[in-house]
Symmetry: D4
């Protein structure tokens, strides 16, 4: 297991599956669990301790509202912690974004964008971190980057063809 | 000791002394300490456990930025937790306010206004909570409330006199 | 009656029933009524006076937009007042949140999160306040806290099982 | 007395004197007092009742933070109420602006800009309201409007001359 | 005609009909038209000039986005101008609210809440302004205020009865 | 005269001189004047009419608060209008930014950043627009772009040298 | 080809077609393509280089989230760049608006309103820029401006007729 | 060289020195340079290419306003990119924060808090990433974490002693 994905509540699963799906694509083994900074603080610290014992390289934490989960994990961990703010209140995710990113000096959380885009990017950043020591993952990242660029070019060609047809 | 005041950093002291000063005025014994949710998570849980053992009635927590302190204390405590957001970043305190107030269901933090006004009000709310079982504190609260109203009336008279003189 | 729930308008009922439901679970007797700080100011002060006469321990106030209800109640009361900001305008609840939480020095409102999460937490905070003098409520709070933690663990196990099945 | 100016605290005086100064320029008699929606709610309602008895045409209310003053006055009054949000917290006046302007249906507050600009405009709006029945005030308003336009033209000429000199 | 209602676009009609409906209830004659500060600036100034010639007492302006309509009308008028910010962009009405309320010194707009609540309150404020010289309108305003208070009391009774039945 | 710079108030001059200074550097003749959308609406339309008669290619408008100036100019003009939001209230320029940029369909304002950065960029954009028909200006723009890039490289060299010395 | 429309992703097409549609109405030849500042940076610079070689007069860029596309294009181009912020995250477009408009000194982007209104206005601004050297386009712009004003007047007449019928 | 620090402008140096200072403390070799996404795009891509050739493990990018620097670097790099938003406009850093963190899917930036706190944390996160393959750095991180916790405890003791003395 290289990456641990933790989410604050079961309802965050549809967002955090974006991380899981992309990690699978990169061939990076991961585990996924639920632990709430507020409802099960003991579980958070034991989950982190176990992850570090197993040699996990990155922890990804997704949470909404006063999203303390990533910060609380970072207070216990020396591995990099990636935070995914989830939009779970009428405030449009600004609450979880600021709770995640505005960490005080000494205890960083690598904050991603709010929601599914951020959850996907958590997987890419995790791969980039692991790629510093695993050449296979680095190769897959390079391929992924080329694929993204190619996809844009194909869409551009598609748009151009379609536009010609329409007129 | 009836109230424990916790702050995330020494720099929060000038704000949190407002709580201390007003608790003294209400004759409510308190203790004040520093514990960081992010830099000393172990200390936070031991400080809370000790406070509950001593029979503290309220915990007041002041913190800035991703202000997780009050929320993390609330995750450990069954006593009421009052959170004072402190303006400690260029974002004007919106970060600490949202981090403090937007707690998920099950684990409340009683959020106050950002800064010194909130720190003062934390003392008043603590007194109101203690006042539910301590008639002496309740009497002092009633006197404080009358004093506030009288002070407004005196200021109003002062303004009226001054205005007459000026013209 | 230990808790009075006041809401500014009938349309706030679906939110404030979260407070009522959880108070019932805690076995705390309560009453629920409607009073508007703006449309029926006289009713607000008489409702507060009557509640204090009856010995109510906590007042919970839910309101949207310029949510003055909790603040106006706090201006009349010496019991703790909990404010639940309700999202009732295109501004996403930021208006009711700031109106509720930014109380001036001397007159606190214990602000909760915007919407249903906040309404639930108002019941938990009320129970925590009452629990300072009622050991039975304190025991139920401790049980509730354990239940929250267990629920997280069960969800975590469920997720783990499901993940294994899927692969 | 045609206009009553109420402010929530003595510290609002430097802002609210802008209203007073401009009302004097319009020759509109006014009174100025202090009354806090939160610290002296009884005083607010008696001040409003007395103002309506005296036949006041407009009430101007200036307050900061959770600026409930104008709204609470509006709940008691049938005369137009003008609200001036005052910047009195780290949130830059957004709290007092939203508390003042987002009034629920049925009880309007005529909200002005945050701070001194708003305090000045409160005097102009009061004059416009009184001008509907007092032709002398209406004439002074027309003169004031011409003066504003002329001042712009003079500044424009000054700028043009200065620019020519500089080059 | 006592009140002129102007809206920036046909799509604002569903909001501004709230103003119209309540003015009818107050028995205040009004006219309603469309004029855009940006697409038909000439029409705006001629509409204002005609309204002032007809002796209109109040102009109500509703607009979305960069809501300049009320401000532009206020630049031409000496009658009170009431601005209703309309939520017409992804920014949730914050754009139209700030564009409407933050008027520079000398040219006030009486800003209402965003959307239908604000449109209703524009009618109440218009009635309050007209009520300064028309005792019949003042009487209807007093009756409206009592009706609002009574409606709250009836809803409160309904809630109380319903709660008893349910249990 | 190719560019007209208009500002809403004399106090905007220190910001708008950034536009003037850079236009001089590009060798583009301009005029600068004051006209307020709210205090001198007639002057705004005559200034625009005169500018279009003179064949001005771009109008730059700087204003604070409810910054309607650029929008009102755009309502009269068919030349491109560039808007510079100026920070002139406690809200940090968010009011003038949203008032400037959120123009309704049909009447664009080319919005720049808040303050001096935006004022400088107004000059660059004006030069880019004029550069479409004036090869000399286009050449100066290309030189300016190279100068910006070179300045970065020099600063980078300076930093590198300084860092070496320090260690 | 006079205008190049670039969008960051295929999902921006429904918004950016507003630009395309209106450019067609103005008779201005354009091309439309996809290029992502983040996923295909090389493509962005080659697309810009090609556009400048072809003599394109304006580039319009639409993007959401951290909308860097317009800024990155502006870093390569000396033609005017118009940025359309697209609402593509839970933050309501505030992210793309600020990313687009807050350009540092030296490299302007002409920012439009968020979404379809902004996309339409990008076409009008492009026409205004081209109109500085193409009298035919300028004529069509003048006609468009008259059409907008007439449409408002027709809507106003329709409203007036409908109101009369209803009563 | 393990870490490359890039800043958008010389004025960002006082903030970014926090990163440099802490990297030195961790014994991690780094280089620091200036490259602007907008004024020197070519330099950005060559700086990134050179850094990846040298085997740099992390790139830290600090920038203000429309902070595109980190995102543009991330578009070229496969190493992890850490973004430090810098408060460089009247908007309080909200512009640079949202520009940095809201990256679209596929191209992550690890966003830190606004300003010096974020710059410090960039060094810690860089050390955590390098620590995954360098046990010496991991040891120093563990020591740093203990030092942070001890510093809190010492401050707490200091506060306690001081409080006793004062009373």
């Amino acid at each position: 297991v290289k990456v641990l994905i933790v989410m604050g509540s079961e309802s965050d699963l549809t967002v955090m599956q974006e991380t899981a799906g992309l990690l699978e694509e990169f061939g990076i083994p991961f585990e996924m669990t639920i632990a709430s900074a507020h409802r099960s603080p003991g579980r958070v610290s034991s989950v982190v301790a176990e992850a570090e014992r197993k040699g996990v390289d990155v922890i990804v934490a997704g949470a909404g509202m006063s999203a303390h989960l990533a910060g609380v994990i970072a207070s216990h961990a020396v591995v990099p912690v990636i935070g995914v703010p989830i939009n779970a209140s009428p405030l449009g995710g600004l609450d979880s974004l600021l709770s995640t990113v505005q960490m005080p000096p000494g205890v960083p959380v690598a904050a991603m964008a709010v929601g599914k885009a951020g959850a996907k990017n958590a997987a890419v950043l995790a791969a980039q971190i692991i790629g510093r020591k695993d050449p296979a993952v680095l190769r897959r990242l390079r391929a992924y980057k080329r694929k993204l660029a190619r996809a844009v070019e194909e869409k551009a060609r598609g748009l151009s063809t379609e536009t010609k047809k329409t007129r």
